[in-house]
Symmetry: C2
């Protein structure tokens, strides 16, 4: 395996739309959402380790998830964990990780990947990433893997690229969460891809971009140069991390740079962002019910997403298109069509019953 290949695995999110399974204490990426026997972060780590030396996979997460990561990824050593003392979106943590990587290996090319997405065709994924690694190693470009849209989803970001025969396309523009009408037009145009939050670049290129587009943040983290990969690193990060701007890599860098390129991915992808998207990826019974960790006896019940703890028997009569999720302290019975409102439900739960349930 190429020793210059690195990964930044993003594992600090909360996945609040997957409440009550995903909670602040135990977020989505640490759950076996698909009932496969592996948690999402385990699946992702294993997928990356097919192309990237395991010791080169940096796992970025919040301090509170340290034990969860070490427990679920026993092959990772504690030095591979980059612990955020505060939640600061993706730009600061990618900058931090990139500085560490550059210090260890200035020739590194880096894959940035979320830890909680679904990708089935691992071979295709590996081939796509390798193509990007090669492109980035030779050129000062920032790359993303774009997903061919299958429907006008208004919850994703879209990437417009220049038409042409090259495998790797030049990006024209990013559009965050368009209206339904706009999304439909994008699909008609054909030269639009979904932004899956998967990025590839050389450590040199991304740091150069930070220096240009986020000079303040760059200076903040550059101050720690001597401490990175030494015992002094924790102290420096604990002292300085919270001062970084709370901004995503998309806003901080990608939408400002004019050397972004995209490779249309050849694998199927799902962000498992909601119960509905999880439902799509699960096997169904004859009535279209997706069942995880439960036994069911259903009548007049179809297209439901059913999940319990401990193989509970679920008897349902007359529910269609519902999310039925049971765990120790919570039972959620909620229309799948309203899954985007679960975040608001969470706020109400917080107000009414306090923090311990969310």
């Amino acid at each position: 395996m190429n020793k210059n290949y690195y990964a930044i695995l993003m594992a600090g999110g909360i996945g609040s739309r997957f409440w009550p399974v995903s909670t602040t204490e135990f977020p989505k990426q640490f759950h076996d959402m698909l009932g496969t026997g592996e948690t999402l972060i385990q699946k992702t780590f294993n997928r990356l380790s097919r192309i990237i030396p395991e010791e080169n996979i940096c796992i970025l997460t919040h301090e509170r998830y340290k034990d969860l990561v070490l427990e679920q990824l026993p092959r990772a050593n504690p030095g591979q964990l980059l612990l955020e003392p505060a939640m600061r979106n993706t730009a600061p943590c990618i900058l931090y990780a990139s500085m560490k990587i550059r210090k260890e290996n200035p020739d590194a090319v880096v894959l940035v990947a979320p830890s909680d997405h679904w990708i089935e065709q691992e071979e295709e994924f590996a081939a796509n990433v390798k193509d990007c690694f090669k492109a980035c190693a030779g050129e000062d470009i920032l790359m993303t893997l774009g997903i061919t849209p299958t429907f006008p989803n208004t919850g994703y970001g879209y990437i417009e690229y220049n038409r042409g025969d090259d495998k790797v396309k030049k990006v024209v523009e990013f559009t965050e969460k368009p209206t339904y009408e706009t999304a439909k037009k994008f699909l008609e145009h054909g030269n639009y891809l979904w932004n899956a939050g998967i990025f590839i670049w050389s450590v040199k290129s991304i740091l150069r971009a930070f220096e240009i587009f986020q000079p303040e943040m760059y200076r903040l983290f550059k101050k720690g140069e001597l401490q990175y990969n030494t015992l002094g690193e924790r102290t420096f990060i604990r002292k300085n991390y919270a001062a970084a701007e709370n901004i995503s890599i998309d806003y901080a860098i990608l939408e400002q740079s004019d050397n972004i390129h995209v490779l249309p991915a050849t694998f199927d992808w799902n962000d498992l962002g909601t119960w509905g998207s999880l439902y799509e990826k699960l096997p169904k019974d004859d009535s279209g019910n997706a069942v995880v960790n439960a036994r069911t006896l259903t009548e007049n019940a179809s297209n439901n997403m059913i999940r319990t703890t401990g193989k509970k028997l679920v008897v349902i009569d007359g529910l269609d298109d519902y999310i039925v999720v049971e765990k120790k302290k919570v039972l959620l019975i909620y229309p799948k069509q309203k899954e985007q409102d679960i975040k608001e439900v969470l706020q109400k739960v917080k107000q009414k019953f306090g923090e311990d349930l969310i």
Copy 2:
């Protein structure tokens, strides 16, 4: 308290329409169905002990519930428990208990009462029972407490009585579970009451009736006369009980005798026979949801019966008139209108998943 007052508390049922809360292992009467802090058998025992000396309350139950009874009724001594080695409906166990009582006190007057019904006005109940005791002590009659019907329920038995000014009325006829049309006519006629399964008679009168209408069963149990209330009783019962006919007291005696009388009860009564009847008796939130052992956050959710174990938070959107019951191994989401079908669901569960869930 009058030493001649006795009670036979019937506590051998299974309450299968209250599945999954009520199970063969742990039936309805041993649950705090109303969330009051007392189980139904505890409430009933306390109600009876206001008028009947505690040591005169015989508790009839199946052998398998012995420990449950002793645990829930710590004031009862083991000698008050009459354990059925087999399920044989109400006639055999009432006969068995009556023989024991007669041997102890031939002047006894006996109240027979289910252990799993709801009665709120304890004073009224006590007054009604005392009136019956007095009537039965002086006369060779069999009495029942009849409930004034509030709607044409087709699930109950009806008692037609002779109009007249006497408090205690002569019964003309019993009708089991009439059609809706018939039930409506009964209510229009006005001289019909619901049969609540609450009976009062002297031990002499009921045994005389058994001797006349169920001579075979009478002979079977008479054989044990010498053993009753001695150490030999268990052996006799274990050997002979199963030979008794599986028949209710209504069919065996009441529908055959012509000296049945009824006192129209002046208390409110509910047999808590189904989730729906339990729902009627519970306090409701603003949307008409009855909630037991749960915390709720509901939207577009009304008239539901919601119960969990351990104060679970239940979030529901869009359910109306449902039973939502969660316990350790089972989650039931079922239309209240179809509550009578829960018995069939139970059969399906048995077939598909085995006995341990029912």
